[in-house]
């Protein structure tokens, strides 16, 4: 069963004080996320990632379209018991301590009273906040608030977790911990849908990614497939302090780095290139096919499509 099935979900806002005009925040979005999948929703700031999450959470209402979450209509109140949500740059009731906040959210999520306090303590330990559990949140740093946010999102043991920029505001070790946490969630069989613009996080964690830009889903793909695609080029690294002339004639893009040369050239020139190295008695270090990176895929998807560029030139609101 699909964990999330988004069916042409669309959102536009009215802008302008006097003469209202529509501003499209999300073009009709169609996307399916399978159960147990870790899905990364990539895009620059203002691309429509948060709007999509808010629509799925019922915080804003769609202009058109619908979505099904865990087999239920997204408006069905039963959905909320099965999902967890971490908003971007979360802000919590700062008159409460972390323990009180989690207890309150546990109450709202319907966690039974007899197991609530043990679960709260477990979550505090899981995000490394046991020592600060009794401190009011107004005294917490941004990184600590992010940890509280993660704890509240998984407190009630949801099947599906939505995380909006979960690594934002965290230092490198904090980011590492969040990555580990998402990995644990995956191991527990949970579905994770998270938005980010940090590609290395997505590459390390996601089964699939979707790229959204200007409110439009530009592409969806499996991370393993995207990063295993060959570009029809090879990269040769060998010891030398000069670039052999023959290699340049083969169309290699070469550069010297210390006592090594790094050259990228068409795959069909592989034998010829090796012959040159042999004839010049140069020691080969490595020869690998050049594969696509997630970054290349991302950048490629951000390029305006012809139809969209024409639409934008005509002044269609985005």
């Amino acid at each position: 069963m699909a964990a999330i099935e988004i069916l042409d979900l669309e959102k536009s806002y009215s802008v302008g004080f006097w003469r209202k005009r529509p501003k499209l925040a999300l073009r009709p979005l169609r996307l399916t996320i399978e159960e147990g999948e870790v899905f990364g929703f990539l895009g620059p700031n203002g691309a429509g990632k948060t709007t999509t999450l808010k629509l799925l959470m019922g915080l804003v209402f769609p202009t058109a379209g619908s979505a099904r979450i865990l087999g239920l209509d997204m408006d069905d109140p039963r959905v909320k018991s099965e999902i967890g949500f971490l908003p971007e740059q979360p802000y919590f009731y700062d008159h409460l301590s972390a323990r009180e906040l989690l207890n309150y959210y546990g109450q709202l999520s319907g966690v039974p009273a007899k197991e609530r306090s043990s679960r709260v303590e477990r979550m505090l330990g899981r995000v490394g906040l046991s020592d600060s559990a009794g401190v009011q949140l107004r005294k917490f740093s941004k990184g600590m608030l992010q940890r509280v946010g993660l704890a509240q999102a998984i407190l009630h043991d949801p099947k599906l977790v939505f995380l909006d920029e979960p690594m934002s505001g965290l230092d490198p070790s904090g980011r590492r911990e969040v990555r580990d946490l998402i990995q644990q969630l995956r191991n527990e069989g949970k579905t994770v849908f998270f938005s980010t613009h940090i590609l290395s996080d997505a590459e390390a964690l996601c089964d699939r990614v979707g790229v959204i830009h200007q409110g439009e889903l530009r592409g969806v793909g499996s991370v393993a497939e995207l990063t295993s695609q060959k570009q029809g080029k090879i990269e040769i690294i060998f010891y030398s302090q000069r670039i052999p002339a023959g290699l340049t004639n083969l169309g290699a893009d070469a550069r010297i780095s210390g006592d090594m040369v790094n050259a990228v050239l068409p795959e069909e020139q592989q034998d010829a290139a090796l012959e040159i190295l042999r004839s010049e008695r140069l020691k080969l270090i490595s020869l690998v096919p050049v594969r696509n990176s997630l970054e290349e895929y991302y950048i490629q998807k951000l390029q305006p499509t012809e139809g969209r560029a024409a639409e934008d030139r005509k002044g269609v609101a985005v």
Partner: protein
């Protein structure tokens, strides 16, 4: 009561207490004890009248100020600070959140009024040295004040669902002032003819009739309060609050949280 409403209400109450809202009781206690000592020195036979008048008016004003200044931020502050996101992404319906907020604030005011009422009765004991039968009506006047708080809270909450805190404060306070003059407005409507008369009548019946809920003067003079008035006032306040809360729910139910 639905348990989620109770949880939201308790959190609202706890927030008010931790934000030191109940500190107003210190100012109230100082003011009332000062006034009681002062009237004890300078007035003859009207000490009770002065203490009841002053005490109940202070209870009403302190409460209205708290109701407005907390009420106007109940929803809008949660939207601005985005604390709502993690609440509404749980199995909490929007109407439950609004109703919970209302009960949280009215609960805060009831507790606040309870302590202020204790102060009023202590001041009465200080000036009269004993309680009298007619002091019972002071309790009824306090009940009427609480009914006023219900309406003010509901109105503040209503405006809070679609307006900025500043505008909500202006609207709620304006309605409180106009409502306190509702009887005069109704009298004016009765003697006005034509379109102006219709408009005045419309306004007179739409604005909350706070003047009917103000029995401080009568109680200060020891006049009894008819049971029928208590019943009608209760029904009126509950009905008006329910309508305002329903309006708040209706608006909030369809609001996009940007």
């Amino acid at each position: 009561m639905n348990s989620r409403i109770g949880f939201v209400a308790f959190n609202t109450f706890r927030e008010a207490v931790r934000d030191r809202v109940l500190y107003n009781l210190i100012a109230f206690a100082l003011m009332l004890s000062g006034a009681a000592i002062l009237v004890g020195e300078i007035s003859i036979d009207i000490e009770r009248l002065v203490v009841v008048n002053l005490g109940l008016t202070a209870v009403s004003l302190f409460g209205v100020v708290i109701a407005i200044f907390i009420g106007i931020g109940l929803v809008s502050k949660e939207i601005d600070k985005r604390t709502l996101y993690t609440v509404l992404s749980r199995p909490v319906r929007r109407w439950e959140f609004v109703v919970g907020k209302f009960f949280g604030l009215t609960g805060t005011l009831v507790v606040n009024t309870f302590f202020m009422a204790l102060g009023v009765f202590l001041a009465l004991l200080y000036v009269a040295h004993r309680f009298q039968n007619m002091d019972f009506w002071v309790l009824v006047a306090l009940y009427f004040i609480v009914l006023q708080f219900f309406i003010v809270c509901a109105l503040a909450l209503f405006f809070s669902t679609f307006s900025t805190p500043l505008m909500s404060a202006v609207f709620t306070f304006a309605l409180f002032v106009i409502g306190s003059l509702a009887e005069d407005l109704r009298g004016f409507a009765r003697v006005t003819q034509g379109v102006a008369g219709w408009i005045a009548t419309g306004i007179a019946y739409v604005v909350p009739n706070f003047s009917a809920l103000n029995i401080i003067g009568a109680v200060a003079h020891g006049d009894p309060v008819a049971g029928r008035l208590i019943l009608y006032s209760t029904i009126y306040a509950l009905l008006y609050s329910t309508i305002a809360i329903s309006g708040a729910v209706l608006i909030f139910q369809h609001r996009n949280l940007k």
